[in-house]
């Protein structure tokens, strides 16, 4: 067998999604933001949505890495900004990409009311149990006892209250169509997360109303662990408090084969 034949027999099995820009991310080594980004970009490619998708970032820098239109909102206000865009351009696909301090703390009112109104938008909620971008402070998702730069002795629930289980909270609102929690800690769960991302966009395409995926994620730098240790910590500590599962699935989505 000569070399030419060998090359011809090779297949491309992995390439950059069209919905990605050709730049390197600024995320820390091991961070699962990159995984979440990639899954979203792959689904947008597969569904052919790139040219009609508008992303809304609330701080963070997600817009640097996706090759479609983006706006950036003030911290926490992404669901309100997405509402403004979707109401004017109802045939576009509007998504927000939000963190936990952002969505579950400063933006708690905006997310609850976007869900209650049944805004036909898709929300990606990265839960890594701390304020990652500002250097690891306590977030509304920080676990009881978890040490952060602003809970140095561990989160004391007597002083700082309890973490918020966002997916469960939003699922009870009648306006939500698809609310699930997935995790990015191993290949099996990453595959399940991708399937959920697909269903969330399917919900929006079908006009079913508010969809949100909470993605349990790691933050090795701020957690003070290696990426491998972080993945184990997520599985051992976060999943018991933030159980994976479907909290709301619109009947129109239940039988969907994807």
């Amino acid at each position: 067998m000569d070399l030419t034949n060998e090359i011809e027999e090779m297949q491309v099995v992995y390439s950059r999604p069209k919905s990605f820009t050709d730049v390197q991310t600024h995320y820390c080594p091991g961070c699962t933001h990159g995984t979440a980004h990639r899954l979203i970009a792959e689904v947008i490619d597969e569904m052919g949505l790139r040219e009609r998708t508008i992303g809304v970032a609330s701080v963070g820098f997600a817009y640097n890495y996706f090759d479609f239109d983006w706006v950036q909102s003030p911290h926490g206000r992404a669901p309100a900004m997405a509402t403004g865009i979707k109401r004017v351009l109802p045939d576009r696909i509007v998504m927000t990409y939000q963190g936990d301090g952002d969505l579950a703390s400063i933006g708690a009112a905006e997310i609850v009311h976007a869900a209650a109104r049944g805004e036909n938008i898709t929300v990606f909620f990265i839960n890594n149990a701390n304020y990652g971008m500002t250097g690891g402070q306590m977030a509304p998702t920080t676990l009881p006892g978890q040490k952060t730069t602003s809970s140095p002795n561990g989160r004391d629930v007597e002083l700082a209250g309890y973490p918020i289980q966002t997916a469960e909270l939003l699922a009870i609102l009648q306006g939500s169509s698809y609310v699930v929690r997935r995790s990015l800690h191993d290949p099996k769960n990453i595959r399940l997360a991708k399937k959920a991302i697909r269903l969330a966009f399917e919900a929006q395409v079908r006009g079913l109303g508010f969809s949100m995926i909470e993605l349990l994620s790691i933050c090795p730098t701020n957690w003070g662990m290696t990426p491998t240790q972080s993945l184990a910590w997520l599985e051992e500590k976060m999943i018991p408090f933030y159980p994976l599962g479907d909290f709301k699935v619109s009947p129109e989505l239940a039988g969907l084969k994807i």
């Binding site: 790139r50 706006v71 403004g84 009311h113």
Partner: protein
């Protein structure tokens, strides 16, 4: 078209709709609420976007989103609600997307009351949000002028990719007057080089107010400041009354300016050579005409429904070249024409001084009355 009896708030709402408003987002607050209520009925029946937001924070950020698509978008509120919107206003100014804001001012500070005031002058004119930016601020004194300036606000916002504010108050918003609405304009989304709509057949667009690189952010600031110079050069509006032969002038905007006009007319009937300058654009401020008046008048009286917020801008032009006096009412009080007339008499009879601060003299007089 014929003149109809209309309430200020409702007239502004309908004027915005007729100017091609595509998206309205608001939150109830007195004395602005009729505007929201009018929109809640009219916008859906015209197939346009309306949302009663969860808060003023929600409303201004919905406007931000809609404005990023290039649509004509607006919100309205009253003083405490406007304070809540300041975050979004700064972001919108920095992102250089056009929008219209209506502020129907009420008494403050704090929760204050629901009576008319003009104490948002500094918050609006000098930018209550963080950073360097200038909104275009229009101050109507009647229902008709509210209608006319609403349409103008949309045009100016789009021309300069800026925030245009209709700064009215509880008097103008709640009063009913005969006025004429313009005909309905078609809704047009003009193609722009900047709006987001989905990256179909073009490069992606990113609308953001962030720039982590200080030199880049400074260039953005320089662009905003230079654009503001263009606004200052081209968009100043004011009204002059009886100023041709005047020795003294009253300066007041909005409903305080309207009350001052009644007082000036009475003074004229008494044979006093007094005129009125009523700024319509508070930002850009009518600096040139104030300078011109400084050179020919013997004194000025600034009348406002606050503690002399515009007074500071007038004094920065006049300096101590001629005496400037001040009369204001605060906390939801409207100065009546007879009060202003008494101040005109004081101005004309003197003695006047360029020393001290007019606010100190006014406060002493006001304290002795209360």
């Amino acid at each position: 078209m014929t003149r109809e009896l209309m309430k200020g708030n409702e007239a502004v709402a309908e004027a915005a709709i007729r100017a091609g408003l595509q998206a309205y987002f608001g939150y109830p607050i007195t004395p602005q609420t009729e505007l929201l209520e009018w929109m809640s009925r009219r916008m859906p029946e015209l197939g346009r976007a309306f949302v009663q937001a969860e808060s003023e924070l929600g409303a201004i950020n919905m406007v931000y989103g809609a404005a990023c698509t290039g649509a004509r978008a607006m919100t309205s509120s009253s003083s405490p609600g406007i304070s809540l919107m300041m975050e979004g206003l700064s972001y919108i100014a920095a992102t250089e997307v056009p929008m219209v804001l209506v502020d129907v001012m009420r008494g403050g500070p704090g929760l204050g009351n629901i009576s008319p005031a003009q104490a948002d002058y500094n918050q609006i004119v000098h930018g209550g949000g963080h950073g360097d930016y200038h909104p275009i601020v229009l101050a109507p004194a009647s229902v008709q002028e509210s209608i006319d300036l609403t349409a103008r606000a949309f045009d100016l916002a789009e021309k300069y990719r800026a925030i245009a504010v209709l700064l009215t108050d509880g008097n103008i918003g709640q009063m009913m007057e005969p006025a004429e609405l313009p005909p309905m304009q078609p809704v047009l989304t003009k193609p722009t080089s900047w709006a987001v709509s989905g990256a179909s057949g073009r490069e992606r667009r990113i609308l953001t107010s962030i720039s982590l690189d200080p030199p880049t952010q400074e260039r953005t600031n320089i662009r905003l400041q230079k654009r503001w110079q263009d606004v200052q050069a081209s968009e100043v509006m004011y009204k002059e009354y009886y100023l041709d032969d005047a020795d003294f002038a009253v300066i007041g905007f909005g409903s305080a300016g309207r009350g001052a006009l009644s007082a000036v007319r009475t003074a004229r009937a008494e044979g006093l050579k007094v005129g009125l300058l009523r700024p319509i654009t508070l930002s850009p401020f009518p600096t040139a005409i104030v300078e011109e008046l400084t050179q020919k008048l013997q004194g000025m009286l600034v009348v406002e429904m606050n503690s002399g917020q515009m007074l500071d801008d007038v004094r920065s032009i006049v300096s101590r070249r001629i005496p400037v006096e001040f009369y204001g009412r605060m906390g939801g009080m409207t100065p009546l024409p007879e009060e202003i007339l008494a101040e005109i008499h004081r101005l004309v009879t003197g003695p006047l001084t360029v020393n001290g601060h007019p606010r100190d003299r006014w406060l002493e007089r006001l304290s002795s009355l209360n």
